[in-house]
């Protein structure tokens, strides 16, 4: 069965070629849903451009005819971001898959939206940091997150995805250096140093206009090129682990340890998240089991550097124990350790933990929150989750220096059971509602979370957000419905 109309289809075929457009439901259906509870919505067309010019022409057509456009790379955002709320054109960007440049001297790369983490990691590993041909070390790193290898580096970065360097450097959207974007009205703009030369090294000291396209969930334009910082791989790595009796105890330890800025990542997971698979539906943890387990990745250029970091970490743990913080030693499982040190990892990025006992549904209240709110919100969330028959499979991860970090609760649910879907959705929305007053903000938020945010947002913030959206996208064609303001 075909959808849409022939005229639009014919124009899209003229733009990209008939092989790369479809309005057949057979080809549209994979774009109707994702892992989350989002109800399937059928687009009318899927189109796969190869060039920036093609993207421009598609947007010009869509803007002229006021057809919604949904940018898409892999559809694995766990937020329903690519589900076409109002139908329209899915722009599947996977054919724009070129790594355009890896500069091993200035340490940045320029990529297209279809570049996967798999392809990018392989290319970076094969490139050595150097100066005028003189190599310093082997391979480059980027912030490798918890996601399938097919996921888009660009899409993840512009939506504030996290990577394994988040403790050292911050979230991946903090690693951006340049951007090329096609506006909804089809103009192409370069942002950052690349607007003035071929160098894609930095946005600074210019006005940060990239902020108009990061965290906007594809509602303001289509990013067609992205510059990102890359970092030499440090050859020495280790994982340090400790468990704790409570969220309060683990947070005390994490904040103290992060004070020294010596690790690439420090993360804690609740007992329920540490189980494989995640416990679904909820049951109590064993009485003697710790409430939280933490791992911290340290890296260095020598064994001495690693030993020094391990020594300071041991001091922190000992000092916390002496203060009465209930910390316990535990050995990080070797398989998991391999996943943390040989990156990016399929083990870390897998979803095998999430499907064992449920019916394929996964979502989360994924949020950025100040560290001091972690234990407060964990106790609130735990009560909410248990009340809905769900496990509080919670994760805390520090972002660059104990200011704030990730607070999220990985939530499997059974898509085949409407009651299970409803329970998960209700629990997660309730968690978001409880968290906002404590400083918590959802990232890659589903529409339901946006509505919660908008209900309590500063009026001036919403005014400016709406004004910017209207200015950039006067016909509201870009991923409409996702911000809850248009």
């Amino acid at each position: 069965m075909a959808r849409g109309n022939h005229e639009v289809l014919a124009t899209l075929e003229q733009i990209v070629g008939a092989d790369f457009v479809s309005n057949e439901e057979a080809n549209l259906q994979p774009y109707t849903w994702d892992m989350t509870w989002a109800e399937p919505r059928m687009p009318d067309y899927v189109v796969m451009p190869k060039t920036v010019t093609e993207v421009q022409r598609i947007l010009r057509l869509a803007n002229h005819r006021k057809i919604p456009v949904i940018p898409y790379t892999n559809g694995t955002n766990i937020g329903g971001l690519c589900v076409p709320e109002e139908g329209g054109i899915i722009i599947d960007l996977k054919r724009m898959d070129q790594i355009l440049n890896i500069d091993p001297e200035t340490c940045y790369a320029v990529i297209e939206p279809g570049v996967s983490h798999a392809a990018f990691s392989a290319a970076l590993k094969a490139t050595n940091p150097q100066w005028k041909g003189q190599e310093f070390s082997k391979g480059f790193d980027f912030g490798w997150g918890v996601h399938p290898a097919s996921a888009s580096v660009l899409a993840m970065a512009i939506n504030h995805g996290i990577g394994h360097l988040n403790g050292r450097i911050g979230v991946n959207s903090q690693l951006l250096t340049g951007m090329e974007v096609v506006l909804p009205t089809a103009e192409v703009c370069k942002l950052g140093s690349c607007a003035y030369s071929d160098s894609w090294h930095s946005f600074l000291p210019l006005p940060r206009m990239d902020g108009l396209f990061t965290g906007w969930l594809g509602t303001t334009g289509i990013v067609t090129k992205l510059g990102v910082w890359i970092f030499p791989i440090r050859p020495y790595r280790d994982v340090l682990s400790v468990s704790a009796a409570s969220a309060e105890d683990i947070t005390k330890y994490m904040v103290h340890w992060r004070h020294y800025s010596l690790c690439d990542e420090v993360t804690a997971v609740s007992w329920w998240l540490a189980q494989i698979p995640i416990v679904f539906p909820y049951h109590d943890k064993p009485k003697d089991a710790p409430e939280f387990y933490s791992y911290s990745v340290i890296t260095g250029w020598s064994q001495e550097e690693l030993d020094y970091k391990r020594k300071i970490w041991k001091q922190v743990v000992d000092q916390e124990k002496a203060k009465g913080t209930k910390l316990f030693d535990f050995e990080y499982p070797p398989e998991a350790k391999r996943g943390r040190t040989e990156l990016p990892s399929r083990i870390v990025g897998s979803t095998k933990n999430y499907s064992k006992s449920c019916g394929g549904g996964i979502a989360w209240p994924g949020t950025f929150a100040p560290c001091k709110s972690w234990p407060i919100l964990y106790e609130k969330w735990k009560e909410i989750y248990i009340r809905h028959g769900l496990s509080p499979a919670t994760r805390f991860t520090d972002y660059q220096g104990a200011h704030y970090g990730m607070l999220r609760c990985m939530t499997p649910f059974n898509k085949r059971d409407p009651a299970s879907v409803q329970a998960a959705r209700d629990a997660m929305v309730e968690c978001v509602r409880a968290g906002i007053p404590e400083g918590m903000l959802p990232y890659k938020p589903p529409v339901e979370y946006q509505n919660e945010l908008n209900a309590v947002a500063d009026a001036g913030y919403l005014y400016l957000e709406t004004k910017i959206k209207d200015m950039l996208d006067p016909n509201n064609i870009m991923n409409p419905g996702k911000l809850g303001i248009r």
Partner: protein, 413 residues
Amino acid sequence: MSHLLKNKNLEVAKIYDYVSMCTHCGNCKYGYEYGSENNFAAMLCVQGDKFNFDSYRGSRGKVSLARSLMHNRIGFSDAVAHVLFTCTSCGACQQMCETDIKPYILRMFEALRADAWKQNVKIPANIKAWSDTIGKNYNPYKEKHEKRLDWIPSSIKSSLPKKAEYIYFVGCTASYRQKEVAIATAKMLQKLKVDFTIVDDEWCCASPLLRTGQYDIAKDFVEHNSALPDKYKASAFITTCSGCYRTLSRDYKMDAPEGYADKYGKNLPNTKVIHTTQLVDEMLKKGEIEFTGKFAQKVTYHDPCHLGRHAEVYDAPRNILKKVPGLEFVEMYRNQKFSFCCGAGGGVRGGFADYSLETAAKRVKEAESTGAQVLTSACPFCYTNLHDAIEMNKSPLKFEDIVQIIEPIVKRK
């Protein structure tokens, strides 16, 4: 609520619980593994590589299609049939999957095709054509069954016993198309002093039928072939064809999801199924056979999907090639569990010859990039596609089945 099973009569609905386990993560869409030196990263899905849309890429697209059909959100159409029948069933997406649907992925593809046959949709004409005649000819090539053994040289024919320990299950492709592979295999088995015979009532193993979802027709074939070992007092089948190997060793013997014992009963319970590469590898390891000459060429090996990912036989052919005097063995970038299909399987060579050969040409290019002079494999069906692609693209490579490489220079000690 759109995630409820509504179309309960579909064949694929029988495994709905497993299809529901897919989390839509997309691991299946791309080949990847980290390593201490370099991370492996490459496109493995031949169908996705060609047709690009998510519906074609990896198992996620087909799971999504299966769900949409079961949820009654879309109906069967020619476009649905195209998605279903252009998959080569190579198993790369299954290799990458880490969720609980993993073992059921190929079964799901076949169940969906079984459903498509019952609908008024466009089944590829060539598949339809051989489907109409296979019940009479017992092969998908529309050749006469009586000609099945025409390939056998008289010197071999005269020495074949009526009954033997092994039945060389030749398969349709080697019997009717790549006859030189069958001849080389029979000669080799004689040289190795293997007690074998070749039977004139061998039927198609049913691989093309099962892979394309023709469950009802397949039943007779499974039952017929399963009776052969008892009839000829044989304890094992030897195959050179990877498709036959996969079908006899798994589909006949094993329960779902690996096989079809749930549909046809547990067949061949006391019959071993051995691929020629396994036989030779084992004999080399035991020191029973030796090479008497050289094969002084640079050789790369293509893993047949049915022998590799489907049955996890990766080492045996490599062990052999590495022991052949003078042979320099080189790997392609995509190898073993991360191999790239030749493009012939799943009914694709018959149904979509151009696309099939285009895929084979990609594989041939990859083989060329190794600097090899010879591309080898262990399957007459891969032989057909890769050999044709070499010829059509005027590649400098030469294709030889692994049996053709070793037969002239191997002997029993």
